[in-house]
């Protein structure tokens, strides 16, 4: 049985992942709200933070399902969970550095799968489950939400065409705050639960909790707090990409994108599909960009996002596998876990330091993006 020190470190790592999940995914709920100036940046992330915290307490129905159907849970050890978390954290920080909205959930699945392959062999991975729970939903999510957002945007503009600009802008901004809030609440419920599941799995694998004990209150509170703090710190680089660089968003588009996103996330949850909030909202933003007459979607930015989505599973898996091999090579002891954790912290910390050179924060997140200048047509 792993000693208490190792269990504590792995739980702390899970909470750190939860924190990165929060700051990486703030954009999902609030990027469009900030972009359209429906709310000031700090107020927007503060609201998202509170709603993520509250959302974590709404339900714990899926708290123990993150590894279920993905890997053989009997083969899961505390070290494998730790290495998987390290892979997910590093991928989250790396994609945050480049400002790419990628899925934290897929990073976690990738990290755990990679560490499982390294620690117990590929036979312990349920590949069919990965296709069902990760790959197919990842392909479908942007199209389902994007289609709905396109339709909603067309209607939003078409049905309010006769109303003067200010009333329309203010009305859609109010609606956008409501729909964004629903996305934030759903994000807190879905994503905080995933970390709760990881912590519970760690406690069970570490012999500190019986398998049928449920989610202890302190786990709920700490996970809710970690994701709320992460959200409040604001992943400004990702917010800038999703809110400013994919397309130029107006309030009607923001309302349409966030309403479609919340409908897609909640309907898919209801029918048992686990969709990535990030991919849903990204699809919504693209759909709203296409839905506005004269709207332009910057496909080069979308292309970067799609490449990151494709790379998330293998890259987080590779990082998880390296972390597992390193922990194993150092003797699988508490000391080994500490050393690997410190190396991971140093790597993540160096990206934070690098990010300060190209600062993006609440003060400049809505600064105008330079637009590519189209060359004038040559005279006939």
């Amino acid at each position: 049985m792993p000693d208490l020190g190792m269990v504590v470190i792995v739980v702390a790592t899970a909470l750190l992942f939860d924190y990165t999940n929060g700051f990486h995914d703030t954009a999902n709920a609030m990027a469009t709200t900030i972009a359209t100036r429906a709310l000031p940046p700090r107020i927007a992330v503060g609201l998202a933070s509170v709603l993520n915290f509250a959302g974590a307490f709404i339900s714990v129905a899926v708290a123990a399902t993150i590894a279920n159907g993905i890997v053989n849970q009997d083969a899961v050890t505390v070290q494998i969970i730790f290495a998987g978390l390290v892979g997910a954290i590093l991928w989250n920080v790396l994609t945050w550095y480049f400002g790419i909205p990628s899925s934290s959930s897929h990073a976690l699945v990738g990290g755990v799968v990679g560490s499982m392959i390294a620690g117990a062999g590929s036979s312990e991975v349920i590949w069919n489950g990965i296709a069902t729970k990760v790959v197919i939903p990842a392909v479908l999510a942007p199209f389902v939400c994007g289609g709905a957002a396109y339709l909603a945007t067309r209607l939003s503009y078409g049905l309010t065409a006769r109303t003067e600009g200010e009333a329309r802008t203010a009305g859609f901004r109010l609606g956008q705050i409501g729909s964004s809030s629903l996305v934030a609440l759903a994000h807190g419920t879905n994503d905080a639960q995933k970390t709760m599941g990881v912590v519970v799995l760690t406690l069970i694998a570490g012999g500190r909790l019986s398998a049928d004990a449920g989610v202890p209150t302190w786990v709920k509170v700490t996970c809710a707090t970690a994701i709320a703090l992460g959200t409040f710190s604001g992943g400004w680089r990702v917010i800038k990409t999703l809110g400013m660089r994919v397309t130029e968003i107006q309030s009607a588009q923001g309302f349409s994108a966030e309403t479609s996103s919340s409908a897609t996330i909640l309907a898919s949850s209801y029918f048992g599909f686990s969709l990535s909030t990030t991919q849903v909202v990204s699809g919504g933003v693209m759909g709203s960009g296409l839905g506005r007459r004269g709207g332009v979607v910057h496909w080069n930015v979308v292309g970067q996002m799609v490449i990151a989505w494709i790379l998330t599973l293998p890259c987080a898996g590779l990082m998880g596998a390296v972390a597992e091999e390193a922990t194993d090579a150092l003797g699988n002891s508490t000391g080994a876990v500490i050393v690997v954790a410190l190396i991971a912290l140093a790597l993540a910390g160096s990206l934070f330091v690098l990010a300060r050179r190209d600062h993006v924060g609440a003060d400049n997140v809505v600064a105008d993006e330079p637009r590519p200048v189209r060359p004038a047509p040559a005279p006939a």
Binding site: L140, A186, T259, S260
Partner: protein, 78 residues
């Protein structure tokens, strides 16, 4: 054949329901918002009798949006 293979991984009936829900919301939400916004925009300069009808339009649009949010929160809790 492709459909058969695909349905092994994803229950298509549920998938269509999700698409249907999204499309219904994509129609209802902007329509409700448009009713509220258009009614609010037309209030200025309207005569008293018409203003009551426009206020009702604003209230109706807002209530529909609140109802949608309520259904969403209920689904989340469920």
């Amino acid at each position: 054949m492709t459909i058969a293979s695909f349905s092994d991984y994803v229950p298509l009936s549920d998938l269509w329901r999700i698409v249907l829900v999204c499309l219904v919301v994509a129609v209802i939400a902007p329509t409700a918002a448009a009713v509220a916004i258009n009614s609010y925009g037309a209030r200025e300069g309207a005569v008293a009798g018409r203003r009551v009808a426009l206020d009702a339009g604003v209230a109706f649009g807002v209530l529909v949006l609140l109802a949608l949010a309520g259904v969403g929160i209920y689904t989340l809790a469920k």
